[in-house]
Symmetry: C2
Subunit: 145 residues, 2 copies
Amino acid sequence: MTFALDPRLAADTHEIGDLGLCRALMMDDARYPWLILVPRRADLAEIADLDRADRAVLIEEIARASEAVRALPGVEKINVGALGNIVRQLHVHAVGRTAGDAAWPGPVWGAGVARRYAPVAAAALVDGFRRVLMREGAGKSRGVA
Amino acid sequence: MTFALDPRLAADTHEIGDLGLCRALMMDDARYPWLILVPRRADLAEIADLDRADRAVLIEEIARASEAVRALPGVEKINVGALGNIVRQLHVHAVGRTAGDAAWPGPVWGAGVARRYAPVAAAALVDGFRRVLMREGAGKSRGVA
């Protein structure tokens, strides 16, 4: 089996690009800055299903996604989660939270209804995340000016 | 600063023991099998605040906690989360989920009210987790029969 992104994840997100292990996506929900990392491996549901080498890369990509979100104005806390109760394909969320945001202090998953970005706003944010996330250590892009 | 467990985490959990990096706790909530890992480092709020070597250990301890929970009867999915909106000390949840459980398919955090274990049940579960989690690769216990 080869990796294929779950169509529900594709429908809810904008693609940023591929890091060393994961496909990086931006959730199409303007309530929060929200990245999703999907390891490009087939048939995974749990972090424990990855081998040890891939897990070491995953936690670095989680840290990098967290820092990219944390750098945005107003972000006070990062919520990292791998749930998969609905979409079983292993995916890890990194969500920027602010006191008083739409779900505060509860979790964002299942809370309310997504507010879609205007296309121009989504494109600008994706471009910014692409520059930050794929600038260094991203495997494919390493050494490319 | 030295590590000190946040008193709110201590009040809601039973202590299992110390792994290589984290203190392992069992949430005192009989609705779900639920472990919490707290890196024994001072002044951390985010996974990205750990150094790279500690992150590599953390993801292995998350995988180990996930497997310990997954081995219990009826567990269909593991939810891993590091939120910290209320308790800022970095801590990572590994929660065993089953279709139809008290929060299904939503997240467990902030959903309903904890149902405390009877003391004898908590002690038996903690004992089981201690044997599984501290059997191997746990640093302090390595090589001890």
